[in-house]
């Protein structure tokens, strides 16, 4: 694939995922007690709900920030963390829908939409985006454009 296209796709994924995680983190910080309840409603170890509610927003902010503002090595770590987080969300939402629970997603704090197969599909897409970002995001070349091998056929 054309390197320029790869770079544009990688940058788009970075901005989209990083922005989404920052937005999700800020949204969840608004009402920590309500968010604890949203997590408990999933009925997956509800006793851990307050711990998740306390830590998850800050993790999302940090991972989102790493994707948007950090050098390549930390961006890669951010992409791995994002894939892990979104994978856990996918399992939680999928299990809630499969068990027929009538609960809201809690994806962006309290007052968000009820979980449905659409939510599962959206999370699946986000996991795929994080994995794709891990593959497509490349470090900035330290060599000037004019001295790249592709433009220096005489040296081969």
């Amino acid at each position: 694939m054309n390197p320029k296209v790869v770079r544009i796709i990688g940058l788009s994924l970075r901005l989209a995922l990083g922005g989404l995680l920052l937005f999700a983190g800020v949204s969840k910080l608004r009402d920590p007690a309500g968010f604890s309840q949203e997590i408990a409603n999933y009925q997956l170890m509800p006793e851990l709900a307050p711990y998740v509610a306390v830590t998850l927003p800050a993790i999302e902010l940090l991972v989102g920030g790493a994707l948007l503002f950090s050098p390549w090595r930390w961006r890669q770590a951010g992409a791995v963390s994002a894939a892990l987080l979104l994978g856990v969300f996918l399992v939680a939402v999928g299990s809630a829908v499969a068990r027929g629970l009538d609960i809201t997603c809690g994806c962006f704090g309290t007052g968000t939409s009820p979980v449905s197969w659409w939510t599962v599909l959206r999370n699946l897409g986000l996991v795929a985006a994080a994995v794709l970002l891990l593959r497509l995001d490349r470090p900035k070349s330290t060599r000037p454009e004019a001295t790249r091998p592709a433009e220096e056929p005489e040296r081969r």
Partner: protein
Amino acid sequence: MPGVLVRAAFLLLAGSLGGAAINAVRPDGVGVRGFVASSTCGAGPERVGPRVLGPNAALTLCGDPGVLVADVRSAARFAEGHVAGAIHLPCRASGDALGGALAKLAGKHTVIVYGDSTDEARPVAASLAQRLDPGAAVPPDIVVLEGGFRAWDQAGLACSSGPCPECQERLGSEP
């Protein structure tokens, strides 16, 4: 790749510690030890907990200003028909909705909770009982309507229909 995994673990750990620190300093932080979930909807029948009241016995309490009736079913089921004067308090109520519902308990001596069946309402009623203000002089008596809304409806007792304003507000805020 190992370096990436170490950095990823660092991000997750630093985020967790940062979150704990933020929670410790904010005035509305979550009390991780004293947390009680407001409901465990769908968790299955609970055989101990709030007492059960038959529809006719519940009817004798209706009209008493010290009695609050709460419907734990979905907004759609609530809109189709509910006990006259009931508030909507679904399993997924949280944040402002839950706070508003709990505020309405002030000054009530009895709360009648119902779902589509007795078992649907039991966990929510049990959870409501746990969340009552421990400082209240006389906490309200939380009871479950036996047979749920179906029994009430079949007995031909007072019902009304249409969405509640709170349900509309909640649905309107959902993307």
